[in-house]
Amino acid sequence: MATTAYDEMYLAKDGGARTQYRRYSEWLAIQPADRLAQKRAEADALFHRVGITFAVYGQEEGAERLIPFDIVPRVLPLDEWNRLEAGLKQRVSALNAFIHDIYHDQQILKAGVIPAEQVLCNSQYRPEMQGIDVQGGIYAHIAGIDIVRDDAGEFRVLEDNLRVPSGVSYMLENRKMMMRLFPELFSEHRIAPVDHYPDVLLDNLRSVAPTGVADPTVVLLTAGAHNSAYFEHAFLAQQMGIELVEGQDLFVRDEAVFMRTTQGPQRVDVIYRRIDDDFLDPLVFRPDSMLGIPGLLTAYRAGRVTIANAIGTGVADDKSIYPYVPEMIRFYLGQAPIIGNVHTWMLRRAEDLAYVLAHLPELVVKEVHGAGGYGMLIGPAASKAEIERFRHQIIATPERYIAQPTLALSTCPTFAAAGLAPRHIDLRPFVLSGRGREVTIVPGGLTRVALTEGSLVVNSSQGGGTKDTWVLED
């Protein structure tokens, strides 16, 4: 990697702090090392007590781990945030328009903007959704858009998450933790609050209830206490004051969904589901699913229940569709994209394939359907053998891969074993859409940090940590 990463806190030319970090860096400079060490230990102990943990797949049953929390915040000045916010609203509006179009007239395919087979032969395309009208035309009610900053300091979208994006509970808990550990910082800065997220989320979910339901019952559908994101499911349900249900708690009768309660069956109008499409209804999707509700799709197609996010959104956040999002923005909104993509080679194209095979050691190669940092080659960090293994896989099935330049993700000072050191970060803001409402984004999002020196993988499943994210209002 020839380029130097953009440092979020310090200027490259003289090492001074950027404007948004000025007060913080002055504060940091006078903190005794033992006070900071003690605060870090306190944070760990508190996260354990409160049970803010995630289950680890493939480990001893019931193993729970903390996502490491770093006490140095990621700070965004208001002007940068305003631009990001506008870009995110634009992008998510276009993505919702795209999904609606794909499951109706498919104008974007007819216009030749995206090759039809890219969409219709995609495993994430759900023919069951064709022609179904969803409430308010909203498909991705909750979107998590992964943003990175490149070496030039430009924000770019790395990935759209439109199925069941997670992490928002860490955004909220990290803020709570920072306020508890360092209250003085909050009186010295004007930091935009984030704790109204559950209210906004509930309002958006209620807005998409089936037409005619005056006081809709919203539930959160979880896979259960052993799911890796269970803490977040329980947390959000509690914060919104709605029931946290499992598939076994729900049943379908006369094309309507009910939950089993101590007072008999109770009608459910909106399901905020945190399980994948494949597991929702064993009668339609995976018949072996124990997590779903038999007959759910019948009720859904009849418009008697709303599922958020809608079924079939995966067709829009697939890595093979990602390169077309800027075109979608132009096609549906007639606007130029405010936030750009990362340049992407689509290996199904012969010329892209040839280039990538010639430059593998410099590039990042991703599996189109991979997620969570799995199934990925980071050229500069990979061994010769790994690169050759990927080369064979790519040549065998080039359509399964895309490639991107190895980005010098921006860095932020982070506590490491030997003290503060720069570590690469990204940002996942959560974008909420509802019926008759403006698209809303709580200021900031979840900042994830790759704790290993030089690493670009921020996923919690691969040793990533998190930081509090501040949007300064002045």
């Binding site: 409160v50 049970g51 329980a234 029931e243 708690d249 101590t262």
Partner: protein
């Protein structure tokens, strides 16, 4: 509320109560083991208690003979035995975790912290952990859990199911401890006899009733009065009457369309205890009485599960 949620809350509180009851029993026997010349009485009492609580078989699978220290460790900290205090604390925490959104955050943190600390103690194991301190700690955590429940939870269905769990478990525990000592409780012939004082201290301490007895009766300990205190006293928090009263009133608060018969049976159990006299129970025989009581308690637990926790299959 969701039937599954009610189910987890009910079991959460049953397991915490069970951990406390076991801690009291270990505590009572542990104290006895520290007294001189307690040998035979101690092992007799231990055996009777283990039989009444169905611990004997699981213990025998791991240990050849009943040895007090081994029993204490087995009941307190055995990881594999599902009936140990450690397992109960884990089960309480797992049930709480499954419905943490329905608990107040204080209650969840209390149960989670209890389990985290218990896990550390279990790793250290005996003899590094003082058994007396351990059971004392378990009782305190149970008191704290109950206090947080009462002090922070909304008085809604969730609260009532939590209480039903607590009192069904407590009634079961008191009845079993009485069963273990039922031979001494046959007051028939000699109602004023004073049997082995060690035995009485175990029985009364295990039910937090030693000081209560003195205060209520201001008299020497007689089997008749002990039985009266633990079965029929309305103001004794661990008596069978008190527990049945609590179960009945909490059941009434959550009544649904199909629970009328369950409610009636709970009311009947309460009324029978309320209007009977110790002499009637003695005439019937204490062992027979306790056996019948435990059977009706089991029936009540099954009916609660059927009416509220495991709803009938939807057609």
């Amino acid at each position: 509320m969701l039937s599954r949620t009610a189910d987890h809350l009910y079991w959460m509180s049953r397991y915490i109560e069970r951990a406390e009851s076991l801690a009291r029993l270990v505590d009572a026997h542990y104290r006895m083991s520290l007294l001189p010349h307690s040998g035979d009485t101690l092992s007799e009492s231990l055996q009777a208690t283990m039989t009444a609580l169905h611990i004997t078989e699981a213990y025998a699978a791991k240990h050849e003979r009943i040895e007090p220290r081994a029993v204490f460790e087995f009941v307190s900290l055995d990881r594999d035995y599902s009936g140990s205090i450690l397992s109960c604390l884990r089960a309480a925490r797992e049930n709480a975790r499954a419905v943490r959104g329905s608990l107040t955050s204080e209650l969840w943190v209390t149960l989670n912290s209890t389990w985290l600390d218990a896990r550390v103690l279990a790793v250290r194991g005996l003899p590094n952990v003082d058994i007396g301190q351990f059971v004392e700690w378990v009782k305190e955590r149970s008191h704290l859990t109950r206090g947080v429940t009462i002090g922070t939870m909304l008085r809604d269905e969730a609260f009532h199911f939590t209480r039903i769990g607590t009192f069904l478990e407590r009634a079961d525990s008191t009845a079993r401890i009485l069963t273990a000592h039922q031979n001494d409780l046959e007051p028939g012939a000699d109602a004023t006899s004073v049997p082995d004082p060690y035995q009485w201290s175990v029985l009364l301490r295990a039910l937090s009733a030693f000081e209560v007895y003195r205060r209520v009766y201001r008299d020497v300990i007689t089997p008749f009065k002990v039985a009266q205190l633990l079965i029929l006293r309305d103001d004794m928090p661990r008596s069978l009457l008190r527990c049945c009263k609590e179960v009945y009133s909490n059941l009434r608060s959550v009544a649904n369309e199909q629970s009328a018969e369950t409610e009636r049976r709970a009311g009947e159990m309460h009324a029978k205890l309320h209007f009977t006299r110790m002499e009637e129970i003695t005439a019937q025989g204490v062992p027979e009485f306790l056996e019948g009581f435990l059977a009706r308690l089991r029936d009540l637990g099954d009916r609660v599960a059927h009416d509220f926790l495991v709803p009938p299959a939807e057609a």
